[in-house]
Amino acid sequence: MSRIGVFVCHCGRNIAGTVDISTVVEAAKKLPNVVYVEDNKYTCSEVGQDVIKKTIEENQLNRVVIGACSPRMHENTFRKAVASAGLNPYLLEIANIREHCSWVHSDDKEKATAKAIDLVKMAVAKVARHQELFPKQVGLTKRALVIGGGISGIQAALDIADAGHEVFLVEREPTIGGRMAQLDKTFPTLDCSACILTPKMVDVAQHPNITLLTYAQVLKVSGFKGNFEVEILQKTRLVDHDKCTGCGSCWQKCPQKVASEFDFGLGNRKTIYIPFPQAIPNKPVIDTSNCRYIKYQGWEKDSKGKKPPECRICEKVCPTDAVDWGQKDEIINEKFGAIVVATGFKTFDHTTYGEYGGGRYPDVITGLQLERLMSASGPTEGEVIRPSDGTHPKTVVFISCVGSRDDHIGRSYCSKVCCMYMAKHTIMLKEHDPDIQSYVFYIDNRTGGKGYEEFSRRAQEEAGALYLRGRISKIYRDGPKMMVCGDDALMGRPVQIAADLVVLATGMDPSDGVVELAQTLNISYDTNRFLIEAHPKLRPVETQTSGIFLAGVAVGPRDIPDCVAHGSAAAVKVVGLLSQDTLTTDPMTSIVDPAKCVGCFMCEDVCPFSAIYRETTRDGRPVAIINETLCTGCGLCVASCRPGAIDLHGYTNQQLLAEVVSLCR
């Protein structure tokens, strides 16, 4: 016989402000099997939980209904309270009379109260049919996967490895380092970016616990927290990295040049290359789209057109015979207990803005392109020159918010770091050439970090940058000059500047391919394709999917210190998970009654988690069986099963029908 206790929460004024609690209490008393009803101001508080515990014990309750906020908030808390009174924690049902009632019906108190009563009625009917459920313990793989080798991923990998766990760091590019490797200096310290980054990159390469896979991509992820199965594509480099010593003879002698992605097209690289001198691994890859020998091989196959050069110079000059034309793409399957997604960003494509030239003006460049020009290892060896004619610019105009804070191009958000990097650029330009005059067109000057406001003042007071408030409407060419048409809002007059070089402070977009990755990981992303945290305030590095964590700009624009902190925070969560010896599974999984199963396997088709497999019964019938560790309890199989052979623990057909019946009475 069920002895149900009902606890109705006021939640301060959140519920009580709309729902008449005393009416609900009175109605609950009349419900079948209810032996005790009480209301509390804040049931989730320590006092509230104590009350639940005491009440269960004193009244020998064997089922509990709590009318309160969404189970997402406190289901775990209340389960613990129920368990502490000696009751199975799954003999609890929560009626959501806040998010599903008081918060959405604040305009009609009478109806809201009636609905709250209904919700409690349903919960009472359901909980009466609850069975005790027992979670299982499963083993886990003590190995972490970090996707993305920028500063966030690097930090996460190092912290997890230092804590004694195995880590795989998978990076799509031929080298780790991400965007930070492309910077010349970092604000506000003006540290040389490569100087502070490369030691960490070397640590990654040398760490005994880290397996570094570059030029590799995550293709598929399946499984669950503690037991992920990941398929990784190791792209062929056509170079045997075990034999290669990184001597550089091949890329020095390679005759084919193409535009360098690392330098954003401002310079060239060879088709056997390392992206930059401090690349890790310091061993080249061959760009199969542009390599001459690959093209020759293509010609050999179809004999179309003129015979291209056979080349193979890299192969000839390599002292260790490391060039391997036969090398193929490889699929690596590996198991991981936890995954950190640190896929970073790419800069906004400014060619969208036709009014800024749409990419047709060589002297209108992006902030990152300016970094490459200023970098001593860049395409101009640190000479800041105009891409069009190689002359030294004297008037440089910066334009903020290109690709940010602009509904018109679908980027309403602020990219956070641009105000700071424009200030940095004006200071660095002054160091390169004291005759340069910088003008910065801004809308706001966002300098919220530590030392940032002071740094911004340096740009104006020491580097002499002139800040003008107003957006730029158009840039047009007038002879060699770029005419920048702006509005000096503070003076209230339009203004035009004849610039030698225009630098667009382009915003941050999430990296390509993040949507496909998110879909295979089963994690959420927002309208801007940034990955979504479990809670924007309180759970910044977790996702709604247990075992998958987030770090860095993949979540949203942020600067380097925040990326490092984020990476470490994600690492802590991973280490917390991996330091356990077993994991507890959720017992709310589906179960098939083999006697009723007709072997149609419709459930197998609909299961998004591949948690259903086939078995043959002793009397030779093929039936479906649920893999409890993979099952997430979504219920799709239950709905799809025509003979009704599948039921869901915690949401059984009987329980749900009881809810419906209770409403109809």
């Binding site: 107003g470 730029i472 409407s473 339009p494």
Partner: protein, 192 residues
């Protein structure tokens, strides 16, 4: 030097609400970036630049807005609206201000554009099409710029690009009635 006094939120919001209703644009979405002004070809001839017009409406500077020349010299070229990062149709706001000024019969700071428009519409109402010679002549008369554009007349006549007499479209009376009905419908809306 003036100090902008905002003492009564209800009255200072009045102009904004009026323009929002007429133009359908969210005035408070404007974050004063100035891109409209930066691209406005007529801004150099305006008392208040487009951004300043938006600002004046936001904070309720009714007098300034209703006595400036900005929306009279606005070319309605639509560049401001095309580039606004907050997707505000600023050209529509300018149009609404001009419509309001005409509806309230307020005296524009410079009469030329207003006179031109009035005569233009009178011509269409009468003849159904623009009678250019008449338009120019009456403009000169009513704007008191008696000799404006006269130098072009001989060439125009010689090249047969100007007819001295008006051409009245068939059924021009019907056109006049359109004008009248439009006025009726609008008056109904204001009073209704």
């Amino acid at each position: 030097m003036t100090v902008d006094m905002i003492t009564n939120p209800t009255t200072s919001n009045q102009l904004r609400k009026l323009i929002e209703a007429r133009s359908g644009q969210k005035m408070l979405a404007c974050y004063q970036c100035g891109k409209c002004t930066a691209g406005c070809r007529a801004a150099y001839a305006m008392d208040l630049a487009p951004r300043q017009i938006m600002r004046s409406i936001q904070i309720g500077l009714e007098d300034e807005v209703l006595t400036c020349n900005s929306y009279w010299v606005c070319l309605q070229c639509q560049v401001c609206s095309a580039r606004c990062p907050r997707e505000i149709d600023i050209a529509k706001v300018m149009e609404s201000l001009r419509q309001l000024a005409i509806a309230e019969k307020s005296k524009p700071p410079e009469k030329e554009v207003a006179v031109f428009n009035r005569i233009f519409l009178k011509m269409i109402k009468r003849y159904g099409r623009v009678y250019e010679a008449g338009l120019a002549a009456f403009y000169n008369l009513f704007s008191k710029h008696f000799f404006a554009n006269l130098s072009l007349v001989p060439s125009m006549l010689f090249k047969r690009k100007l007819s001295i007499l008006p051409v009245k479209v068939k059924g021009a009376k019907k056109i006049a009635r359109i004008f009248d009905r439009v006025k009726e419908i609008e008056n109904e809306k204001v009073s209704g």
